[in-house]
């Protein structure tokens, strides 16, 4: 092992940023898996790029514009899903591709402004600032706090919406809050792993945890641990092998998934 002096400031910030994202992505991602919303998250991430471009044009804090665009897209998708006739699968696809295309078209008009597209697509965890860290942990605390309060309602909605409604749960409100939390986390985590990989942070750790967990709570908790392990090993690989940080984290998570599949007793897997 190398001495502490070798771990520079930017590396430490990257580590804390990644761990912060993993902590909030675990429980939230579990709900993305349970409600089969991976592609929905993908659409939100794509639309975040539109937020980046609009934020640059407007000259205000890009992060706030990204959140606004993501939230708006989440609400539009929610409404499209409810209005019968529009296949939600296609609706999500159209929004995802449409916002991405729109962002790239607008980008062509503002060539004078320099946007590091690559950094937004694949993340730039090594450029994380102290301010970013505050943002990640602030958003994380807010999201986890809201989820703790709504935990049982959110689970009831996963199991059966009709029964939840009969039992007095405000299903529509619960679903909208979940979507907005997702928009918030996607907008924030984008900085770390980028638009194209942010959904992996949400769905890979819970998918691994599912192979071992026996309750919703243990699945969420295990997701956090697996996420943190992925971040640490991904960043280590990036540091020593000089690979891109964001993709390294995702690859680390996928490797853990494959290893778990191989190691886990068949009995557990059959439980699915």
């Amino acid at each position: 092992m190398q001495g502490d002096a070798m771990i520079s400031d930017f590396m430490l910030r990257a580590l804390f940023a990644g761990i912060g994202v993993a902590i909030v992505a675990g429980p939230l991602g579990a709900f993305v898996v349970w409600r089969r919303m991976a592609y929905f998250g993908e659409a939100l991430a794509h639309s975040a790029l539109l937020g980046v471009v609009l934020g640059t044009i407007l000259g205000v804090m890009p992060w706030l514009v990204i959140i606004a665009v993501c939230s708006a897209v989440a609400i539009i998708l929610f409404i499209l899903e409810r209005s019968s006739g529009t296949g939600s699968d296609s609706a999500i696809g159209m929004i995802a591709q449409g916002t991405l295309a729109l962002a790239l078209v607008i980008l062509a008009f503002i060539e004078t402004e320099r946007i590091d597209l690559f950094a937004y697509l694949f993340g730039d965890i090594l450029a994380v600032t102290k301010q970013d860290l505050w943002m990640i942990y602030g958003v994380g605390a807010l999201v986890l706090g809201i989820m703790a309060g709504l935990w049982q309602s959110m689970l009831s909605v996963v199991v059966n919406e009709d029964v939840a409604r009969v039992e007095g749960i405000n299903v529509t409100r619960t679903k909208i809050i979940h979507l907005l939390l997702l928009a918030l986390v996607v907008s924030t985590a984008m900085k770390i792993v980028g638009v194209l990989l942010v959904v992996a942070m949400l769905i890979v750790p819970p998918s691994i945890a599912r192979l071992m967990a026996r309750s919703p709570e243990s699945m969420a908790a295990l997701s956090v641990i697996i996420g943190i392990v992925s971040v640490i090993s991904g960043l280590m690989a990036s540091y020593y092998a000089d690979t891109p940080a964001g993709p390294s984290i995702v690859v680390a998570a996928i490797v853990i998934f494959i290893l778990t599949m191989l190691i886990c007793p068949k009995r557990v897997i059959r439980r699915r």
């Binding site: 349970w34 009831s156 039992e167 026996r214």
Partner: protein, 277 residues
Amino acid sequence: MNDPLNIPDGTLVTADHIDFIIEGRRVLESVSATINNNEIVTLIGPNGSGKTTFIRILLGLLPASSGKITHKPGLHIGYVPQKLIIEPSLPLSVGRFLQFGVPKGPNRQKGRRAAVLEEVGAPNLYDASIHELSGGELQRIMLARALLRDPELLVLDEPVQGVDVTGQNEIYDLITRIKNERHCGIIMVSHDLHIVMASTNRVICLNHHVCCEGKPETVARDPAFQSIFGSQAAVRLAVYHHHHDHTHDQNGHAIPIDAPDIKTDTKTKAGAPDNAG
């Protein structure tokens, strides 16, 4: 007419001239019904007759096109939907599942949850994964969960779907016992004629509108009922005889009106006296 604050004593829910029209199709036409406590009401009708739609409107899950639903204020409902498909990526044990929708209090305690499992005849399933259950087991677990809410009204949409004949009888017996012990109101949807006839106090025959309504014996004699179920019922009765070795000579001719006779002979509940009158 129906003042929501002035619902009669013992009445849990009333439906007053409910219409439901979707895409120009009239699914329900002026359907009225009342469910009181301490009775089992069975909603019966052919496929696509609007049974589940009516149940959903009754529960407030679907807005009626016109008409009015009135719940007793603060009504506690236990609802068992027609089919419960639980997302396989959600790891869930039966014991944990029984906490869902149960208000904070003694009923959330492990002892009470285990006791209710015993009540529905599934005492060994507490630690089982919800994804490993058979159709009948899942129905019992759903009933157990609904019971933990201490419901005044139980709503069961096809409670024996996907359950074998023996299991069906057991579940209907269980439902009757729940009514007798808890004195709650129960409305269930079914298109099984023979078993339902024996374990219900009142039958509402629905085919977009209420064809007929009343005690099972009365309904079975109703021409409107026979025109819908006549031939079908005869076939089902034949199946029924096949599975149970009753030796009633008079049953050679299988007409629906015989159903309550057969079933209630082996039960303590009314049936035969009403038939005579």
